[in-house]
C-alpha cells in the first residue's frame, strides 16, 4: 500500500486563491525585486517561487540614462503583475506625487503606500499614511498601505478606501519575524474580511509559515530571499512554507493545551489495570 503525500511544491496546491482588489492570485507570496546579486537571479527567484506579484519603485534617472528602460524590460519579461511602491517618502505629499508618477510610468493604479516616520525603524508615519491614502483612493488608486498593527490607524485606512492592509512583522530589512504576534492576532480577528499582508521583517520561512498559520492572507518578502546564499533555493523554501502555513490555517489548527493528553488510545493498554487494588 502506498500512502498519498500532500504536494506542497506543485503549482496547484488546492488552496483558496487570494483576491486583492478583485484580482485573483494563486500565489500568496509578494516579492520585492531589490538587492539580488544579479537581475538574472531575481528573475529566476520569481519563477522558482511561482510568484505573481512583484514590488518595484521609482528613482531619479540620470541624463541620457537607460537604467529605467532596462529594468522596465526585465519586469515586462517576467510576465507578472507589478506593485509600485513609494519607498523612502517622508511626507504625504511626497508619497502622493510619487504614486502619481508611478501610475503613469507603470500604467498601473496599484500603489504600495509607504510614508516613513523614522530612519532607525523605518516605521510608517501613520498620520501621513492616512492622509495620503485618503487622497490617493479618491484619485482612483488601489492603495496597499504599509502600516503597523495599530487598529485605529487600520480603521481609518479602511474608511479611506483601502481594501488591503499591509502591517509590518518587524522593521524593514531586519528579518526578526513577527515581533508583535498578539497584536497581529488581534488585527486578524478585528478585520476578518480584509486581506491582510505581512509586509516587512520576515527573515525565515518559519516566520512566513507562522504568519500564514495566524490567518494572514499573504506575505511580502524581499531581503530574506534576495540576500540569501542561494536566493533561488530560498525562494522555493519560502514558497513551500507559505503554502504549508496556509494549508494548516485552512485545515483548522489544534488549540494548545496546558496538560498532556495521550494520543494513543488508553483503552486496552497492556499491563495497565484500572483496578489497582486487585
Amino acid at each position: 500500500m502506498t500512502l498519498r503525500q500532500p504536494d506542497l511544491t506543485g503549482s496547484k496546491p488546492g488552496l483558496k486563491p487570494l483576491t486583492l482588489y478583485g484580482v485573483e492570485l494563486t500565489s500568496r507570496m509578494l516579492l520585492g525585486t531589490a538587492r539580488y546579486p544579479s537581475p538574472q537571479i531575481m528573475t529566476d527567484a520569481v519563477a522558482a517561487a511561482q510568484c505573481e506579484l512583484v514590488t518595484v519603485s521609482l528613482r531619479r534617472e540620470q541624463a541620457r540614462g537607460q537604467v529605467g528602460n532596462r529594468f522596465l524590460e526585465l519586469i515586462t519579461d517576467l510576465g507578472v503583475r507589478v506593485l509600485p511602491n513609494t519607498a523612502g517618502c517622508r511626507t504625504a505629499n511626497e508619497a502622493i506625487t510619487t504614486a502619481q508618477m508611478a501610475r503613469e510610468l507603470f500604467a498601473c493604479d496599484w500603489i504600495k503606500l509607504e510614508v516613513i516616520a523614522n530612519d532607525d525603524t523605518l516605521q510608517p508615519d501613520l498620520f501621513g499614511l492616512v492622509e495620503a491614502a485618503n487622497i490617493l483612493a479618491r484619485d482612483g488608486f488601489k492603495v496597499f498601505p504599509y502600516t503597523t498593527e495599530d487598529l485605529g490607524a487600520a480603521e481609518r485606512l479602511v474608511a479611506a478606501g483601502c481594501e488591503v492592509l499591509m502591517p509590518w512583522g518587524a522593521p524593514i530589512g531586519t528579518g526578526q519575524g513577527l515581533n508583535n504576534r498578539a497584536a497581529l492576532k488581534s488585527m486578524r480577528a478585528y478585520f476578518p474580511d480584509t486581506p491582510l499582508v505581512i509586509d516587512a521583517g520576515i527573515g525565515a520561512p518559519s516566520h512566513a509559515a507562522a504568519a500564514m498559520e495566524l490567518g494572514f492572507d499573504a506575505v511580502l518578502l524581499n531581503t530574506a530571499i534576495a540576500r540569501a546564499g542561494d536566493p533561488i533555493a530560498m525562494a522555493q523554501a519560502f514558497a513551500g512554507a507559505i503554502r504549508a502555513g496556509r494549508a494548516a490555517y485552512e485545515s483548522g489548527l489544534m488549540t494548545p493545551r496546558d496538560v498532556a493528553a495521550p494520543s494513543t488510545p488508553v483503552a486496552g493498554t497492556p499491563f495497565f489495570d484500572l483496578d489497582s487494588s486487585s
Binding site: S57, L58, E61, A63, L105
Partner: protein, 73 residues
C-alpha cells in the same frame, strides 16, 4: 521642440543646480537627453503628466524631478 527664451537661468534637476534656457519641461528633457527613456516628472513637488510637458513652462528656481523604473521592496 519647445520654445526657448533668450535668457539662461538656473533650475534644479534631480537635486542638482543646472543652467538652462529651455522654456518648457519637454524642452528641458530634450536638452538633457531624456528623449529615449521612459520617465515620469514632477515640478516643485507636483506631478506633471507627460501629456502636459510641452505646455509646462519653467521659471528660474524651479525644482524638477525626473524618475524612471527601479528595483523595489
Amino acid at each position: 521642440m519647445g520654445q526657448r527664451t533668450q535668457q539662461v537661468f538656473k533650475i534644479v534637476i534631480n537635486g542638482m543646480v543646472t543652467e538652462t534656457n529651455a522654456h518648457t519641461l519637454q524642452a528641458l528633457l530634450d536638452e538633457h537627453g531624456y528623449g529615449g527613456t521612459r520617465v515620469a516628472t514632477a515640478r516643485n513637488g507636483t506631478f506633471v503628466p507627460s501629456r502636459v510637458r510641452e505646455e509646462t513652462t519653467l521659471k528660474p528656481g524651479d525644482s524638477i524631478e525626473v524618475v524612471s523604473a527601479r528595483q523595489g521592496g
